[in-house]
Symmetry: C2
Subunit: 235 residues, 2 copies
């Protein structure tokens, strides 16, 4: 019997790939509008390299962008990038279609949780902006556990927090090499949602191959019905 369903956040509950793409593009455009006289595509790629180098949570990407162009720290340019990013972020922080009705349906029958790599407050900010912070019985972040997906520890911590066994639990995520591999390695059932930048990436090995693949969120309840029936037939 299935008792708990765990979800990844980015590219699973909302379109994180589109958000970051559009937010970076809009921030570049705002900086050009504020006087940064460079080609849009050139700046976008330069910013991409800087974010890759310093990590997504580094707070001074735009300062580094100007520095890499040999320019001084112009607060008008930096603020233009920051404000455009923030506004785009809020505009795109919406759940994927059918996430809310599907979670409402699942919530009646199962415990729901989140297992997410990242900083606790930042991941909670996303859930709150998505309007999903009241749906989950537990939210497990790598910052709090001290281990990131695909480490077994973060999945085991999540199972423990809801007092469920791996075989009673489903992990839903977009990333074969973190969500799927990690959940399978502790014995959870896995559903891969083919969304975002990894939608078309094929699993590199058997452990990265999910038990089920879906393209849309509202296919999940039907998959769970199939899983439940198999369970019964096995008994």
């Amino acid at each position: 019997m299935i008792r708990a369903i765990f979800f990844d956040i980015d590219d699973t509950l909302y379109d994180s790939t589109r958000l970051t793409t559009m937010a970076r593009l809009n921030s570049i455009r705002a900086m050009i509008d504020a006087g940064l006289d460079y080609d849009e595509k050139f700046l976008y790629e330069r910013l991409y390299e800087i974010i890759k180098k310093f990590g997504p949570n580094y707070p001074r990407h735009y300062n580094e962008l100007l520095k890499s162009l040999g320019l001084k720290e112009d607060p008008k340019l930096i603020a233009s990038g920051v404000v455009a990013y923030e506004h785009t972020k809020f505009a795109y922080l919406k759940p994927f279609p059918r996430v809310v009705p599907t979670l409402l349906k699942l919530k009646d029958r199962y415990k729901l949780g989140v297992i997410s790599n990242g900083i606790a407050i930042k991941q909670w900010e996303k859930l709150i902006n998505l309007g999903l912070h009241h749906y989950f019985d537990v939210v497990i972040t790598s910052e709090e556990v001290g281990y990131e997906k695909p480490s077994k520890e973060i999945f085991l911590e999540a199972l423990k927090s809801l007092n469920v066994k791996p075989e009673e639990s489903i992990m839903v995520g977009d990333n074969p090499s973190t969500d799927i591999l990690g959940a399978k390695s502790v014995g959870m059932i896995t559903i891969r949602i083919r969304k975002g930048k990894r939608a078309k990436i094929e699993p590199k090995n058997e452990l990265e191959k999910a038990d089920f693949d879906v393209e849309n969120f509202d296919e999940i309840p039907k998959i769970i019905d199939i899983i439940e029936k198999r369970h019964k037939n096995t008994i």
Copy 2:
């Protein structure tokens, strides 16, 4: 002849007092909604004390709020406060009525500047959110100058940046003890706009008393006409 007009930002170009009041209230309400089981008024006052103690730019007000209540750092509660504050901030970061048409009118005839106490990027973020970042020939912040209003240095720096004399320049601001006192002390003409939390505070001495008081932004061009006529009559 008047050649330049300088403006304060907070409670001059937009309703900073209302923004902070509403953003703090909404952050408290969001934290209560997220599970913080205390009285709204009690929490609001506690938060007010914390912001007074740590300053408005301290990034961990909500962490301190929980700490002061003897609670652990719950990322859900903290993120709820942060997100509600941000959304309210964006909703209220709108210019006072008639600011935009008045600036458009003045921009044809005068150089326009901002003289603001605060962190350069933060003050620019406000101007950008207000949609006013293209209106000013120069933006002078205390962070960049190293002196805060009412110090003479920040006003002299502003005058120098536009290459104008004090008697050719007008300072528009809400705060008698910073905007008015400082601008008068270097010989600028002063217009006090009676907005925000200081609207009803009377000047403590002659230097805090502006040359002109207005209640609304669109009275400014008429006041400047009066000033220009006086100038002519003096010559």
